[in-house]
Symmetry: C2
Subunit: 192 residues, 2 copies
């Protein structure tokens, strides 16, 4: 919808060269997964297809699980994880976290070679690597095998320097402040 | 969809106290608008309604315009701006940019008091304030009049310190690297 004086014309960018970007979203602040979800929504508008593979957020409901259903068959979302490893109250053993993250690696390869997607989101993979649930060689192998026109977004804090080196676009999302610190509980729609 | 060993149960967070958060996404890196869009997608999954008011991105097509249409009547998006003020090739005079941003302020107030929305995204409002298209008093007035349960997300670089002071959650998105710097043109699905 347009308000005020409408622009004379809407300009449509058309890059001369299409390029599949590798994007890393890291840092300790709020906005990494939500930014990746926003790119999925944006890609959807362009008629592109996305696949989101969550490496670590398995057993805590998040609004995006139902949100992406509204986007229809342009988006697939897989949650393979067992929640955040090492977080208070998360009782799954390390081996189970690792087995799930390893399954997410296999799934990523499967989806990558399927040729079905324009955008692949590897949610929390940076953190999974940091916690040794996946290995650096495995993530570098994914980047090596990425088809040239596929966009790949890797989220999670503590991104490995070798992954940052390989990426095209990297944002560090720094926490300036967070409502959690004032004991405000996570709120639906914003935090999950 | 679930892969690997499914979690024994999905935990649904239910905050004891609902709270309408004020979130600021600022900094020079990629991910501010896309993060706000991701929150809209997430809110949608919770059955919440969102309104996005773009203060400055009027005449350049962005994938989210069509992406949010897929979310149906849970989301409204308004673009009132005339593109980025002061950017090369943007020929609209300052007065016209300001008139559009002022219209966006009026629209924000209208949507805020309508009681129809759970989440209001004021896209690029920080930048609009920095460029004097809106005034600090006007933005503080919006924050003062925000209903207690309404989430409000303010995006754009150069967020004003007084706005940061008033917000609950603030992320600074720092550019570590960007594909633009290597003369890779903006790519659909990721950059717009």
């Amino acid at each position: 919808m347009t308000r005020g004086t409408p622009p004379e014309k809407i300009e449509h960018l058309q890059p001369e060269k299409r390029y599949g970007l590798t994007v890393v979203l890291t840092g300790n602040g709020k906005g990494k997964t939500s930014s990746a979800l926003g790119m999925v929504l944006r890609a959807c508008g362009h008629g592109m297809r996305s696949c989101i593979i969550q490496f670590m957020k398995g057993d805590l409901y998040a609004g995006e699980w139902d949100g992406i259903k509204k986007l229809g068959d342009q988006v697939e979302l897989y949650h393979t994880g067992k929640g955040f490893c090492g977080i208070q109250g998360n009782t799954y053993p390390y081996e189970e976290h690792r087995a799930n993250a390893q399954d997410a690696i296999d799934l990523t390869l499967e989806k990558m070679v399927s040729g079905k997607f324009d955008l692949l989101v590897l949610d929390e993979i940076n953190n999974a690597l940091h916690l040794k649930l996946v290995d650096l060689d495995q993530v570098l192998d994914l980047l090596n095998r990425k088809p040239p026109l596929l966009h790949m977004v890797l989220t999670g804090r503590n991104a490995h320097p070798d992954i940052i080196e390989r990426a095209d676009t990297v944002s560090e999302i720094r926490e300036i402040k967070h409502a959690f610190r004032r004991d405000i509980e996570p709120q639906p729609g914003i935090d999950y």
